[in-house]
């Protein structure tokens, strides 16, 4: 028991280290000094309070995206549509934040709620299609990503437009920013969204592991046939799972608008956050707390990598390669397991 819990932490950590080592070797191969590179990445994350704050800001939407992917995964569904659901969440929050008038605090809460509902339904639509008509969720969610992108651009241009191809700024009453927090981090845009992300990770864990709803969702994910025989409504659960997954993505989108940008831009392409969410969820082994770890790792590395370019002029592609190595070794944790086993065995022998 004890060792297996230790392994749950040790293995990903070792996988990360192994990934960094292999990534470093590749960097060397590309003609850059990995020590210099890594230390500037480190600087870019921990160098000062501002960078730390911004790293956490960058991590926030990744936690939501990761949770969304992980939640669906836990119930046997592959939601590639987090990207689109995130966009819908942004859009809803931008609309409510800028066009509704409500008291401070409540305004933000309502905006988040509306975003949750909108993107929940958007994700739920894919779930409904699967449950009712058997349409594979991977296809629908891929398609719905594009639909969301185009729909959002059109809506912003037609109804929400403010300055320079962006929606109108949200009212201060809807903001998730906190001056003191921002001041603490030297003006970084870290905001209440991070707290929300942590809360929702807990909520996800609690919902999945501690409630009857979660029990049903997981049962359907593991074995829909047995779930049906036991009297659970499989279709309802597929819909519900995608609904919740979409809602999680939507909150991420909302915190992005309400906490960071204050508006939503017409966009020529995807944010990429939804796709990164897949990696984040899987690094975190689809466990809500693992997702936090995955988001910190993924978000931290890619944010810190910018510093490497700014300071050392090392292209960001090299850190991209490092990140891919880390993910690869997390995926292939058995390598680490195997190495660990060898190590332990040798230790065992030498102790005798």
């Amino acid at each position: 028991m004890q060792t297996s819990r230790w392994n749950a932490i040790l293995i990903p950590v070792l996988a990360v280290i192994l990934g960094l080592i292999v990534g470093g070797l590749l960097m060397l191969l590309m003609g850059y000094n990995p020590i210099v590179g890594y230390s500037s990445v480190f600087q870019g994350i921990f160098g000062n309070m501002y960078f730390m704050g911004e790293t956490l800001r960058a991590v926030t939407p990744l936690i939501f995206a990761g949770l969304a992917v992980a939640f669906a995964f836990r119930t046997g569904l592959f939601n590639i549509g987090v990207e689109g659901q995130f966009i819908i969440g942004q859009l809803a929050a931008a609309w409510v934040g800028a066009f509704w008038t409500l008291p401070t605090g409540l305004h933000a809460a309502v905006a988040i709620l509306v975003a949750m509902i909108a993107s929940g339904l958007y994700g739920g639509f894919a779930g409904w299609l699967k449950a009712r008509l058997g349409v594979h969720e991977v296809i629908t969610t891929i398609m719905l990503n594009y639909v969301a992108l185009f729909a959002a651009n059109w809506t912003i241009r037609t109804y929400l437009i403010g300055a320079s191809e962006r929606s109108k700024d949200i009212l201060p009453s809807a903001s998730l920013q906190a001056q003191w927090l921002s001041d603490l981090f030297e003006g970084a845009r870290i905001n209440w969204g991070l707290l929300l992300a942590l809360i929702f990770a807990l909520v996800c864990y609690w919902l999945l592991m501690k409630t009857t709803t979660g029990y049903e969702l997981r049962a359907v994910g593991f074995n829909p046939h047995a779930a049906e025989y036991a009297g659970m409504n499989v279709s309802k659960n597929i819909f519900l799972s995608m609904l919740i997954s979409g809602a999680l993505a939507g909150i991420g989108g909302a915190t992005d608008v309400l906490g960071v940008n204050g508006n939503m831009a017409i966009s020529a392409g995807f944010t990429g956050i939804g796709f990164d969410g897949i990696a984040v969820a899987l690094i975190g082994n689809n466990n809500p707390f693992g997702v936090i770890f995955g988001a910190l790792l993924f978000g931290g590395l890619s944010f810190g990598a910018d510093n490497m370019q700014r300071v050392e002029g090392i292209p960001t592609e090299s850190i991209q390669i490092v990140i891919s190595m880390v993910i690869y070794f997390v995926a292939a944790a058995s390598v680490v397991n195997w190495l660990l086993g060898k190590f332990r065995r040798r230790q065992g022998v030498s102790q005798k």
Binding site: I142, M143, V147, A279, P315, I321, A331
Partner: protein, 322 residues
Amino acid sequence: MNFADMLITILNGTIIFSTPLILAALGGVINERSGVVNIGLEGLMTVGAFAAAVITIWTGETLGLPGWLAPYLGIIAAMIVGMIFAVPHAVASIDLKADQVVSGVALNIFAAGVAMFLVKKLFEGAGQTTTVQNVFTKVNIPFLSDIPIIGPGLLKIYPTSYLAFILVAVIYWMLFKTPFGLRLRAVGEHPRAADTLGVSVRKVRYIAVILSGGLAGIGGGTLSIAISSNFQHSTVSGHGFMALAAMIFGKWHPVGAMGAALFFGLATALAVSGQVLGLTQYVPSEFLNALPYLLTILALAGVVGRAEAPAASGKPYEKGSR
């Protein structure tokens, strides 16, 4: 534009748009039929697109090989590079029993990083290759391409499109008529059964994943040398995922995948002609551009119905486990 002209362009557009999707989706079919999920198609297409552009430029413009030959060499290079990049995914999902989705995600990130890094290295810091001068040109099939409408529309197309259609047939034949295909499908459905009959699950899956890399690589290659005439970070933007969708839409069948890709190409071509014909006066361009995606959902919901993935797809096979 008269009706016939329009039809020709729409048919043409359909084929242009679907060619890379068909090729990559074929890769996906082989891959998943053998029981390995590959969401790394996007990355494989990326390195394929890169290799095709670079090799075509190098052989045609630097080495001065004949202009007609260079793009063929480019496509071959795309295939080889795709195969090479598929190897780590194969190792992870077959030998290391890794989560295949994660490994695919890693592959996507890795491929994009490597390709862009090398572009910058090779082209003096530029973010794209120089323009590929020796691109494929459409070929006529004598006599046949003189047939009205379908002649110029369907039969006067790129060699890569012919290649795609030929490969559909070849892979169909391979999967359903040859011993290797039988074994490949068996390994994807019930690896233990295959194993007890002495079929090496490992070997078959390795071959499938690597072949799949080659096909996705060619698919990417057609993007860079038959469509955009260069390679840059956005040359392969989401095509791998669309190919994945086509594979599922086509029920993991080569002909089905081709049908799905053609359907999607047709929807796109129609949406584009909607714009050209001035529909944007009535509906926003965003709507027209979203149309192919919506139509795909509609088609799936309305006509196609349920499809089952190969039973063992996504599951690493461990000897002696139950």
